[in-house]
Symmetry: C2
Subunit: 452 residues, 2 copies
């Protein structure tokens, strides 16, 4: 039995899978924050190249991956899929556990799958410069990497507290040639206004988004803005993960009973699961269970409400219909920074509403326990975000043991933890904690939902 | 044309290549530091399991890789070999540049190739516990990883200044379950003696070796000691790199004109080049050039003398005949910590003496310049050690351009730089420097060579 299943470069998918072709419903329209009317391509044109806007609403089942994008994918794709023999033995489970590993990308996570595509389409559209925001830095570093390869300047507004606490991620972006400024900055009106009110502001993702968007629409250089999750085209670019995983599992002669993915804004989860969910939606995999694992600190699916809300905290973005904790909700400072998001991608929400996928929230300590077990059995130190998926898979495997049933469990290990060792150090010293999220706190944020 | 050449798991080598079978000379005997007589197996038995001692002196051409070792290798082997198309274009060179990438291992470098083998043979011999020393932490983390998979306790004596400055590497070792103590420690007589004289001692690799060795020979638990470079068996375990690279280049239909490797103690360089040097020694590749790149801060081959010297700075180890800067030589604090070694593996020295291989020393800034160019073209951020090989390959490629000749240049990218981002940050800020190494400083250290 193989430990890992490797595909040839030829097997890098030639097209992304667009789940909108197979959804049994239409996605709710995205609304303009001022008019509350559905946004059209023209509203988005200042921010994104037209091809990405087209992909955002396309219902074609497959959208061809341009050859220059596949050429860059070849640096790390196809990514390996592993059978977790050692983890299975440690758990004494009859389950078969497989994991797809996206940490082999130069940026160490799945984020480059879309960063490269976005950089390519921007380059094609004549964009010379892209702005974006980043919190922990995974998205910012993926875009810095992609921008450099397509000769596009990248400016990253990095939440100030992360800028100061995560100098290594910052240095990684700079090594790839990106300009990184702490947000709030003096480079935008939005930033200056915040600094005027509070010179010591630690910043937030919401402020950083405002700065990146303002920069993009006001710059004299042809500049666009890029987002690392939530939007349909971003999720679609990530489906290379699931498409490859399907082939690899075919090679292993199995089809999953249960898929598990960590979820924040939705791109990692969707990229891994949508090609399989396509099977489920079209009757080819009626019994497949798909489980999204979110942190109890940001439980959008399990404790949020289904409503129109802003994508950012500073109420600049269009309104999205989604499970949300309220745009003013501030998740506790868990180390899985990539999962600290108040909302959720639209298609994920609709699939959850329709009962196609399940969701579970897990507390921080349980994810680090699972991450450590994984590191000590399989050898790869997972990112805290990825440890959420491990927790979910381990729990399913334990259930298999208890029920005496063998099931095939597959999860996506979306990134390595090399830039998160402080978190492991703190966990090993007993300094991490779980966060109890009082219902009142959620209700307080939900009271600020926009009226639609 | 493929960007990367991937082998199947079946193609992980089934045997290591032992260059001692093909050397046209015998390696000089290793001498006991007290008697100055050649050491025998019994002298080494308290430190190493007998199978490793046997491998150390074996002249069999191929030594079978045990299946449990290959089973662990499968986690990341075979490693990819890339054609550096983007780097070639940036250099406008007619040269074909390829690189083998060892950074895909869970520890991020080539070190696990031998750590896993050593852990296996120790396990087989009943060893319950292994001690070792580490400076920057690459070797310590590789052994921590390997020990965990073979259920052997690992204790790492980590040079105190690194212990304090590199908490992420320390956390990585602890995540894999190793015990890590700053050296000098209170756990050994050697450590206590140093601390009594200087409670604030920053430690050194020499002191850490003394502590690890003392711990191994005095422990009540069956404990051995492990070394991450220099010894013959360590170099041999690394030949999986070169054996795979040969097959991959065959797939690409080329044979190298020039091989380039970074060199510190010799294991990375030897592991990559020896399977090709075997061809050269046996007449099958008479024109192959093999270039070792060392830092100007520790130029053992290019400025050292050929003499018997201690392997460590505290004069505990047997005496090795090698190119040495003197065991008391302290290299400048360059960021390529893995190359800061005063001596060199015996077989590398003999090949250099015999004119089979060449050596060049490069200054720190030039290596970071090459490393940054590589990150910005090929996308992978290299470890500072690996950047030495890149510098060497880039210089050869520039020569090809100047001479208007196409040559096939292959180098080994021995690890990624995720744990070295401080160094890149400092380079980008202009805070790094080259070090001028005065001849007097080398002469001062050489004056302390042991009399043999």
């Amino acid at each position: 039995m193989h430990t890992k299943l490797v595909l040839d470069e030829e097997d890098i998918p030639k097209a992304w899978y667009n789940i909108q072709a197979d959804l049994p419903f239409n996605l709710p329209p995205v609304l303009h924050p001022g008019t509350k009317q559905p946004v059209g391509p023209d509203d988005l044109a200042p921010l994104f190249p037209m091809e990405l806007i087209r992909q955002e609403v396309s219902k074609e089942r497959y959208i061809e991956i341009p050859e220059p994008v596949r050429e860059v994918y070849r640096l790390w794709r196809p990514t390996p899929l592993y059978r977790a023999h050692r983890l299975e033995r440690a758990l004494q489970t009859p389950a078969k556990i497989f994991y797809k590993y996206e940490g082999v990308s130069p940026a160490g996570s799945h984020k480059p799958n879309t960063a490269v595509a976005q950089a390519f389409y921007n380059r094609q559209a004549g964009t010379k410069r892209i702005t974006t925001e980043t919190g922990a830095g995974q998205w910012g570093s993926a875009l810095a990497f992609a921008g450099k390869l397509f000769d596009i300047e990248v400016k990253v507004y990095m939440v100030r507290v992360s800028y100061e606490q995560k100098p290594y991620r910052r240095a990684l972006m700079e090594t790839w040639g990106a300009q990184v400024v702490p947000s709030p900055s003096n480079d935008t009106n939005a930033g200056r206004a915040v600094l005027a009110a509070d010179p010591d502001s630690p910043g937030s993702l919401g402020i950083a988004i405002s700065e990146a968007v303002e920069d993009a629409v006001t710059s004299k250089t042809p500049t666009k803005y890029a987002l690392g999750s939530v939007l349909n085209h971003v999720l679609m670019h990530q489906t290379v993960i699931g498409l490859e995983a399907k082939r690899q599992l075919e090679m292993a002669g199995v089809y999953p009973d249960i898929l598990v993915g960590a979820i924040g804004g939705g791109s990692n989860f969707a990229g891994f699961t949508y090609p399989f969910i396509g099977d489920k939606l079209t009757g080819r995999a009626p019994n497949l269970r798909v489980v999204a694992i979110e942190p109890t600190a940001a439980p959008s699916l399990t404790r949020g409400v289904y409503a129109y809300d802003f994508g950012d905290t500073s109420m600049m973005t269009p309104l999205l219909k989604m499970y949300t904790l309220g745009h003013s909700f501030v998740p506790a400072p868990i180390h899985a920074g990539g999962l600290r998001y108040h909302g959720m991608a639209s298609s994920v929400c609709e699939l959850y509403r329709a009962g196609v996928i399940e969701a579970r929230a897990v507390p921080q300590l349980a994810t680090f326990e699972a991450g450590l077990l994984f590191a000590r059995t399989e050898g790869i130190v997972p990112a805290p975000e990825a440890a959420h998926a491990i927790r979910g898979a381990v729990d399913e495997a334990i259930r298999c043991r208890e029920e005496g049933v063998s099931r095939t469990i597959v999860f996506n290990l979306c990134g390595h933890g090399h830039f998160d060792m402080t978190a492991y150090e703190r966990y090993l010293r007993g300094e991490l904690q779980d966060y109890n999220l009082p219902e009142e706190e959620i209700q307080r944020a939900l009271a600020e939902l926009p009226q639609v």
